[in-house]
């Protein structure tokens, strides 16, 4: 019977349950335990049979807590690799809060990948939201606390929409299976929206660039791997071939480029460039052919690795200099040569240089858009490829490690960080040199020849001419200037006008009440104060609790029932 029980055990739960022990383990044993958890989960995953496993009945709902198939497996593999790299990168961090948050976050994301029904998906979906915010809050700055609050509000909203959609879907069809949905039905549209928030669709993207740059040094690395790629997986599972995704992904690949080029905080540049890379994957899902879906999965794998590597190198710089702002940095290759080299490998990968990972995955999606004759999308993706080289491939390493010398000579990154970066860099090059290994693991095994003369020459043309433009603009002093400043994005709407209106209403209410008799006015004002305190723009209740607490109660209730059904 033990075998049966084990064969139905979700790999994500290994890390979530393992995380509970972390605070109680002293010193070295804690590190070994944390490193062992993703390895254990990986070994367990390799041993699982494919199919619908982990079935249990909750209320009158039949849950499938473990669905193993090729689409899930590839995301599962890369999530566990990313967890391991994240833990290695994090080894020097003292305490246990970030460590526990990392494991629960990664475990929830992995659990969500293997969720076969919407209720299980919802539980893990909320798990990622609630655990990941601690990676932002742990930075401890007032900006991080505020950004974390905004982040968790958005994330939990996504979960609430998913929950509502699950209920509607169940009511209409009697099924909670997590399969493909029709975006023209109400439930399908809501699920689409819930996934779209986490995938950072245009206009819903602002939480990504708002929160990630405020996270801790290690937190940003871990955040960059999971939430958005989970959403990509969910879209690929639920909405493959949904045509509206093609224009959405096309816009998504293009518009962050402009913001990335203006931005001074290089961790925010990376958040924008991550957003642009997600656009490629969304296009792949929208096209919906075997080739394009394989391209999405491959690009997700490569993107976890190179984006993680870039965030790691910026994290190392941030840790050693206290800033990741382009205006303050420059010339660091002299004292941080290894970090600089790893950053360049990440940059070459995101730019899709031949022999680096981005080249073998991005070309699948671009080829799919070419084969499907999506002209505008294809043109925009070519532009976005050149753009990726401008903002992340050239601009980031150049202004941090080369360029104008800042005079700073910080020490090289700690050994554990270098190790994590080294493994990620090795995988970036490994996939680029031997793409067959990755291709064999894709949802539908593709026979694709990435290294044809045509692909290599055209890609080199794109990159070299983008470099020419960069160099010419640089020499003429015409690049967007690096100065200590921020750029407005759509989150301005709720951080300024909406906040003003809410504040104005509060004052108007107080004035109105003061017109009443003194006694009622006083009572009324007290009420207004209480309301404002609890529900006003700065009130914690208004910010996160009404949706947050309900989601938490729901999650707790469901977990309790699940626990009951186990025994």
């Amino acid at each position: 019977m033990t075998g049966d029980w084990l064969a139905n055990f979700p790999p994500g739960l290994i890390m979530i349950l393992g995380a509970v022990l972390v605070p109680f383990l002293p010193g070295l044993s804690r590190k070994i335990w944390m490193l062992a958890l993703p390895v254990l989960a990986f070994v367990h995953l390799l041993g699982l049979e494919q199919g619908m496993l982990g079935r249990m009945v909750l209320f009158d709902l039949e849950l499938t807590t473990l669905r193993v198939d090729r689409l899930g497996l590839i995301f599962g593999y890369i999530f566990l690799i990313a967890t391991f790299l994240g833990v290695v990168y994090q080894l020097h961090v003292k305490g246990w809060l970030e460590q526990v948050a990392t494991l629960i976050y990664a475990g929830s994301a992995t659990g969500a990948i293997f969720a076969g029904d919407l209720v299980t998906l919802f539980l893990f979906w909320e798990g990622t939201a609630i655990s990941s915010v601690f990676l932002i809050w742990a930075a401890g700055t007032p900006q991080a606390l505020a950004a974390g609050q905004r982040y968790v509000l958005i994330q939990i909203t996504s979960g609430m929409i998913l929950l509502a959609a699950t209920m509607i879907h169940h009511g209409q069809t009697g099924s909670i299976a997590f399969e493909s949905f029709d975006v023209t039905s109400l439930a399908g549209l809501l699920i689409f929206l819930a996934f779209g928030i986490k995938a950072a669709f245009p206009l819903l993207h602002f939480w990504l660039k708002d929160a990630y740059p405020q996270a801790t040094v290690t937190g940003a690395v871990i955040l960059s791997a999971f939430t958005t790629k989970l959403a990509i997986y969910a879209l690929a599972r639920g909405f493959a071939g949904t045509e509206i995704l093609i224009p959405i992904g096309t816009v998504m690949a293009a518009f962050p480029i402009v913001f990335a080029l203006m931005e001074n905080d290089f961790r925010r540049v990376l958040a924008y460039s991550l957003n642009s890379q997600l656009g490629f994957m969304v296009v792949g899902i929208g096209i919906g052919t075997e080739l394009s879906l394989a391209g999405t999965a491959a690009h997700a794998v490569c993107s976890v690795l190179y984006q993680g590597l870039l965030f790691m190198s910026m994290g190392a710089v941030l840790m050693r200099t206290g800033t990741a702002k382009g205006s303050e940095l420059g010339g660091l290759y002299r004292s941080m040569p290894i970090t600089a080299a790893f950053c360049c490998i990440g940059a070459a990968s995101i730019s899709a240089f031949p022999l680096f990972s981005g080249f073998v995955s991005k070309s699948l999606i671009i080829s799919a858009s070419l084969k499907g004759e999506y002209f505008v999308t294809w043109m925009v993706l070519l532009f976005a490829s050149a753009g990726a080289f401008l903002h992340s491939g050239f601009r980031v390493p150049f202004f941090v490690f080369f360029g104008r010398d800042s005079g700073l000579r910080p020490r090289e990154a700690p050994k554990n960080m270098l190790t994590a970066m080294g493994i990620a860099a090795f995988l970036c090059i490994g996939i680029g040199v031997l793409p067959g290994v990755l291709y064999a693991l894709l949802p539908s095994p593709v026979k694709y020849e990435a290294y044809t003369l045509e692909h290599i020459v055209t890609q080199m043309q794109i990159l070299v001419f983008a470099a020419v433009v960069f160099v010419v603009f640089l020499r003429m002093g015409q690049l967007p200037s690096l100065q200590r400043a921020i750029n407005l994005d759509v989150d301005w709407i709720w951080r300024k006008p909406v906040a003003w209106i809410a504040g104005g209403l509060h004052i108007a209410l107080l004035n109105f009440l003061s017109g009443l008799t003194a006694k009622t006015a006083e009572a009324g004002a007290r009420l207004a104060r209480t309301l404002y305190y609890e529900h006003g723009p700065t009130g914690r209740l208004a910010r996160t609790r009404p949706s947050g607490s309900m989601a938490l109660y729901m999650a707790a209730l469901l977990v309790a029932f699940m626990a009951f059904s186990f025994f």
Partner: protein
């Protein structure tokens, strides 16, 4: 019990005074050599021209006619990158705010 320490420690920003700085007698790095940088630039431009010259030798298989125009894969990114950098400058002038804009 390993719990005598606080659960976490916010990232410590290094004291600016403690970050090592350039020493007065530091030998110049390779990027300080103007000739090297110039050579690199010329190599890049030469490579770009070479890629344009060999372009007709590479057969392209795509369905769109524009792809078969000589040098499309070089000249289109060239134009697009110039355009996006100009847009970024213009938009930057409109959207740029002080760093404490949201904290005020």
């Amino acid at each position: 019990m390993a719990n005598d320490r606080p659960p976490f420690q916010p990232d410590q920003t290094p004291d600016p005074a403690e970050i090592p700085r350039k020493a007065a007698d530091e030998p110049p790095g390779w990027t300080d050599n103007k000739t090297t940088v110039k050579l690199l630039n010329y190599a890049l431009f030469a490579f770009a021209i070479l890629l344009l010259l060999i372009d007709p030798l590479v057969h392209k298989h795509g369905p769109f006619e524009i792809e078969h125009v000589w040098g499309f894969y070089g000249l289109y990114p060239l134009a697009a990158c110039v355009a996006v950098l100009v847009v970024a400058r213009v938009l930057g002038a409109v959207l740029r705010r002080a760093e404490d804009y949201y904290d005020r």
